[in-house]
């Protein structure tokens, strides 16, 4: 498996698990209007720090297992795959942003929930980017 495909897998697994836990915990509270913005900010801070820490550790492990690939710059096929992933992420993010707008304008969703929906769109966009990259790495280009 290519080094950059490993990185995409690391991102998918860590973000799915950690943000999955975050949204599973936070969304029922936000729907009920419980807690305040600081409570959510602390939870989000812990979530982001956990994702970053896990990704750093796993990326170092992946780099140790393939040191030459880890040192090399992206080649043209990898750059193209990255761009394809970014294009998918763009559409997912735009769709998510529009859903947040509709939710705010037509359903009067509370701000805590809206903030978390926006975050969910960002996470979904990132997952879409990584999954698109994995599909293209598996296909070969």
């Amino acid at each position: 498996m290519a080094f950059r495909e490993k990185l995409a897998w690391i991102s998918v697994v860590t973000m799915s698990l950690v943000y999955g836990w975050y949204f599973w915990t936070i969304l029922p509270l936000a729907r009920a209007g419980a807690g305040n913005a600081w409570h959510y900010a602390k939870m989000l801070q812990a979530t982001i720090m956990t994702v970053v820490a896990l990704q750093i550790v796993l990326t170092i492990a992946a780099a140790i297992s393939s040191p030459r690939e880890a040192r090399a710059a992206e080649d043209e096929r990898e750059k193209l795959i990255t761009l394809k992933g970014t294009r998918t992420a763009y559409f997912v993010l735009i769709t998510g942003a529009l859903c947040v707008c509709v939710s705010a304008l037509f359903f009067g969703t509370n701000s805590l929930l809206l903030g978390n929906y926006a975050l969910m769109a960002v996470v979904a966009g990132n997952l879409a980017k990584d999954l698109t990259q994995i599909v293209h790495y598996r296909r070969g280009g």
Binding site: A2, A72, D75, E76, R77, E78, Y137, R139, G140, G141
Partner: protein, 70 residues
């Protein structure tokens, strides 16, 4: 449908079984990219195509050809 065919596998074989990794090193891409090109899953840029030809010591037309699939 037209596609870009290549003789990289045969040309590597003719050069003492040069490995994909060795060719990748000379060309400046990853082994996986050479593998994808060999299997016609990825069409390289013109620059990379020239680099592959140079690394194999042949003209670009001896490596790549434009073909119509039957």
């Amino acid at each position: 449908m037209a596609f870009i065919a290549n003789n990289i596998r045969r040309l590597r074989f003719d050069r003492d079984e040069m490995t994909q990794a060795e060719l990748a090193e000379k060309v400046g891409v990853t082994r996986q990219t050479i593998n994808a090109i060999e299997q016609n899953k990825y069409a390289p840029s013109l620059e990379t195509a020239f680099r592959i030809a140079e690394a194999l010591g042949v003209a670009i037309v001896d490596v790549f050809s434009y073909r119509n699939s039957p």
